[in-house]
Point group: C2
Chain length 199, copies 2
């Protein structure tokens, strides 16, 4: 146990995900010993995060205004909506620069064990966005795991009644990966989804 502030800071840091007592201690000492580390900026940003950042009223992405920068961008195609689990996924997809439509963040995936049913996700808000007929295609980009697949199946069944194209991201071998090390499910999907390259 340290004296007062150091221990309190270690405890408080230790409440954050992925930071154990050892890392919290290393962080505290780093701040103490590194003159150049801008501690007041970090403190300010933490407060600003809570005060100014929230979730976009339309898509559920992080936003500093009422809506996020993607929803406000007139160059984005409003006929395309990509449905993801978390705001982190938006950033991952944006990094590819492949997608120029809009997003819809569900806020998680269906997971009966964790008590998360469809009602806990932003599905009602998605249906509202689809009501006016602007959207032509919904791309379901949930995680390729059990919960993500369950959510994708639920959504595709729900949306199939609408006159909208529903697609899902392709499953297959990761680029740069080694076929030998691919798990059998991924390899199976890669076979199922094989594409014709000649004839």
């Amino acid at each position: 146990m340290y004296e007062g502030i150091v221990q309190e800071l270690i405890d408080e840091f230790g409440r954050l995900p992925g930071i154990g007592p050892k890392s919290a201690q290393r962080i505290a000492f780093h701040i103490l010993q590194t003159e150049t580390f801008d501690v007041s900026r970090l403190a300010e940003l933490l407060t600003e995060l809570r005060d100014k950042v929230h979730f976009c009223a339309i898509c559920g992405n992080v936003a500093e205004q009422e809506t996020c920068s993607i929803c406000r961008d007139p160059r984005r195609n409003p006929a395309l909506i990509c449905v993801v689990e978390e705001a982190k996924d938006v950033v991952a997809i944006e990094r590819t620069r492949e997608f120029r439509g809009l997003y819809h963040v569900l806020g998680g995936a269906i997971s009966p064990i964790d008590g998360i049913g469809p009602e806990e996700l932003r599905i009602r808000q998605l249906l509202q966005r689809l009501a006016d007929g602007t959207v032509e295609e919904v791309i379901i980009a949930t995680d390729p795991n059990l919960e993500g697949e369950a959510t994708a199946t639920y959504l595709s069944r729900l949306l199939t009644t609408l006159e909208i194209r529903i697609t899902r991201l392709a499953s297959g071998l990761p680029v740069g990966g080694d076929l030998e090390y691919a798990d059998e499910v991924t390899l199976g999907r890669a076979f199922e989804g094989r594409t014709v390259v000649a004839r």
Copy 2:
């Protein structure tokens, strides 16, 4: 890339040791999504850490006053000084409740590769503390690695001229460890330092 504050906070967190961009992102979202997380307390503690916490004028341990709580404690034995590399080591030793003397934090270990010589450590301050004859024993408790050993050797040679008992922590097998998995140096030390249990 996220919008403004979120990205800035991720960048700032990413400057701390042991926090990569992924952890920084997880932390930012945790704060955003966990209403109960006391973000203003964390912000406050960060500022207080920089403003109020420094190193004890006597021993170099962390302190909120001019000297640390150990140096101020009249129940500690001033005839015993345990020399450690870092303030973290003080906490580790305090946890054992075995040692009731005072400490001296060197602020590192001799490491020619990192450009750390004896002058960079708080050795001059240690000699000053030993000058008045109060101290009867100096326990060298540097890390049992290359730098720690070098520092211990340097210190024991330097202090041998004084009329003070110089001791070092025992090396040997870690309690609860498995002999089979002990490295040969540790095992060698355990043999060297073996103690008589009968006859």
